[in-house]
Amino acid sequence: MEIEVTVNGVVRGVEVRPHETLLALLRDRLGLRGAKNGCSEGECGACTVLLDGAPIDACIYPAAACAGRSVTTVEGLAPPDGELTALQRAFVDSGAVQCGFCTPGLLMTLHALLAERAAPSEAEVRRAIVGNICRCTGYAHVVDAVAQAVGARR
């Protein structure tokens, strides 16, 4: 079936199969490989993207259900001129990126958090990312990065 979905601000017409996941559509057919396929079961959060602004696991969400809606992936965070967002900059600067596999997912969830709360507490940050597994940083650098990004925005 043919659907129209806005991906990173651009309306795309795509043919999707009824059982196809949003992650398969993004990675295999739209060439957006930022969202990662980790567990394929909604447990690890490496595939997190925003659907109408809300973080979801793209690996278990049907592509066909995105018709008429708006999807943002990590590729859509920085504007076309390549300037990183304050949060992306802070991830780089504070060592929150180690192996990098979880990074796109964490960025998406945390961008959603910062869109809701200008200055989340550490507890709020940790609660927001319970569905994003990181095996390198122990989350400390990630929490630091959010604090740094919040400070930079002030």
Binding site: G42, I60, Y61, P62, A128, I129, V130
Partner: protein
Amino acid sequence: MMAPVAEFRSACSTEEAVTWLAELGADGCVLAGGTDVMMQYARHELGPAAFVHIEGIEELAGVGRDGVVRIGALVTHRRLAEDAALRTSNPALADAAATVGGWQTQSVGTLGGNLCNGSPAADSAPPLLVADATVELQSRAGIRRVPLEEFFLGRRRVDRRPEELLTAVEVEPLGSRQAEVYLKVGRRGAMVVAVVGLAARLSFDARGAIAAARVALCSAAPTPLRVRSVEQALVGLDAALPGWQDATSPSLRDGIDALMHAVSPIGDLRSSEAYRRAVLPGLLARAIEICRARAGVGVPEG
């Protein structure tokens, strides 16, 4: 290998969805947030001919108040956890919703999906049971209202016909001098299916003793269940008396005995049967303590 799903239909209204469900019969599969359906599909546990996608049906996404609180089937766990009015009227439901998976699960996972999936571990079930919930099911033949307690028939079996759509759940809001809580035991603090879950809604008398109780569980039997024998045993318990938590108070001891008789937990990869039994008494005592604190009874005034 099952045949891939041939069709994906997105319904714009309840009317349209129930028309399609009637036409498709057992070949149709309702798809809300898909957090259960998509995984079951990937694991080849289901292979419908068509998905009937319902997330676009606006009339199922609202919350209404008219004595009872009417929660649309499409209300997400995120909304249940964050909505200030719902947190006031049905705090245990908010407690439960906040424990479902992660934010990503809560963004799309719905109340209707949690109930229709029929898992013995459904976190929303115990808080709804203690709020005397009724589910509303709609088909082309009309509307059927079923008390939630009767909706759960067995492990993964609910009283919903293939042509029916769950449209809403009606619950009692908390009354005065009442408090409620949902407590979930899991292997970590988040992203886990309940080892056991317990909801309690307690009414206190002017002195602070329990005047009426409702207690419900998940992951303790083939279906979520209300434990009326426990409820009866707790009436009269005065948690202001010293030592009541140590099961020295007759009512608590009776409540715990009733609890142990009512449950039939299994051992599985998440927990042993023995552990499930072992945590339940403490959970009941903690629920009473939290309800007392939330109701503000036994707290010195001033």
